[in-house]
Amino acid sequence: MNKMKNLVIAFLSILTLASCNSNDEKTEKSAVDSAATVNTTFDHVLGMWVGDFIAEEYQEGSYSENKLSLVIKSIDKDKVIGRSVVVGNDRPLQGTLTNSGNKITFVLDEPGDQKYDGRFEFELNNDTLVGTWKSYNQEINVTKRSFKLLKKVFAYNPNLMLDKNGDYTDRQSSKVKTVTDTIDGKAETFEDEYYRSASKAVFTINSSTQELKESDLKNLRKLDLQILRNTIFARHGYSFKKKTYRQFFDRADWYIPVSNDVNGTLTALEKKNIKLLERFEKYAEDNYDSFGR
């Protein structure tokens, strides 16, 4: 009987230990994101939240959807400090939280000294931050955006690759060609739009782990080279300003924009590969479709 009791107690204590462990892990993760943990009650909110930043109110033709990272750095009573990273804009955030029973709501402001600054309002909904952003400036293209953010931990991993099932067509820039065709004996002129597509190389060559040789790159078009080079920056959490690159990396689950300057974190191999890729990009730009080589 006693033995049985002991066993039950042992089992229960293991269970408690296990649950404690998982709690510890969570706090540890948060601690990584922010050293300045103040109020333990909101520990689970501290850290990086990532998701799509979707245009809700915008000028005609300027709809856009970008990846947003929202960092809650510290919470001191009702004072919240954080930052937002989107489209190469890394902005400080300051504001307050309201804890009304089982609902935590936030109002965080960007400083307002830049054109695209605005106010974030959101609440914690289970494991998701749900809310909107409104620009201070009503003259810009997108004045209101919505978002649903999940908590993520950023960690540089050189082995991350673009998904081989992805669509790597550059929808952001097209070439218009005028084509003349004869239909029913009448010559008609059409304007066709051409989009450039990347090759398999963008998900088979890893520009962060393998030392690239000229022979690896010779048969690649400019878009392949651009994507290969920028995948390095994406792995380091670079927040892309150019739509050309956002369209490819925003879709990658692993991609988290954390900074608008990652040069200090590049490895020696990556720096070497970037130099080589840049040289090939320039050559492709100058020579691919022109007389000469």
Binding site: R196, S199, E214, K218, N219, R279, F280, F291
Partner: protein
């Protein structure tokens, strides 16, 4: 032999032919300028300019690559000049000595510099074995046609000399046609750079050669 036009019709025909020749000359002049522009990119000498940007493996790995590459770039532009002088009827018939001097210059530059350097850089061509084979065969044929042409001139066999010089110069013009084909193929099909390179390595000179062979057979080109 100088023929006098016997009728008005024949005079008109001659004028028409002259216009045709003038158009060809202007076209050739246009492409010569483009080639000159490409050559000038290699001044001053640099080890990582233009085409060399994607040739650093050879530049760094093979000591002779860079000097021989530059021999090819700088000599090839001069042999194109022969297109203005050596097939000119007036110069050929009225200034045979000048024709001979300029001809020797063409032959020396091709045989000593442009063709051997072409063969060497052909061995290291982009586009793998397919392209390497094309450029190597091109260089060997170029050398052979040019040598044969000058030897025939020495033996006073001027008709055969003329035919071999046509073949030689058809290959000289591959510098132009190869780049022209590239522009056309890229515009039409957007192929990957080395795929197009393998194609133009052959397309740059074989149609040229076929064209002059056809013209020789049809006796289209008569300089007298």
């Amino acid at each position: 032999m100088h023929k006098e036009p016997t009728t008005n019709e024949q005079m008109l025909l001659n004028i028409r032919i002259n216009y045709f020749r003038l158009a060809w000359l202007l076209l050739f002049f246009f492409f010569f300028l483009l080639m000159l522009q490409i050559t000038l990119r290699y001044l001053p000498i640099s080890d990582d300019v233009a085409f060399l940007q994607i040739k650093q493996t050879e530049v760094e790995g093979i000591k002779l690559y860079l000097p021989i590459f530059y021999i090819h770039v700088y000599s090839a532009i001069f042999v194109l000049l022969a297109g203005f002088t050596q097939f000119n009827k007036t110069l050929l018939n009225k200034r045979p000595k000048l024709h001979r001097k300029l001809g020797y210059l063409y032959v020396l530059v091709v045989l000593l510099f442009a063709a051997p350097s072409g063969l060497f850089i052909g061995f290291f061509a982009n586009g793998g074995l397919i392209a390497k084979a094309a450029f190597s065969i091109l260089a060997v044929l170029w050398f052979w046609f040019t040598l044969k042409a000058v030897l025939l001139a020495k033996k006073q066999q001027f008709k055969a000399h003329y035919h071999f010089m046509l073949r030689s110069f058809a290959l000289t013009c591959s510098a132009i046609t190869l780049r022209l084909w590239k522009v056309i193929l890229v515009y039409l099909f957007h192929p990957a750079p080395m795929d197009v390179y393998q194609i133009i390595a052959w397309l740059g000179w074989i149609p040229n050669l076929l064209l002059v062979e056809w013209m020789i057979r049809k006796k289209y080109l008569n300089l007298k």
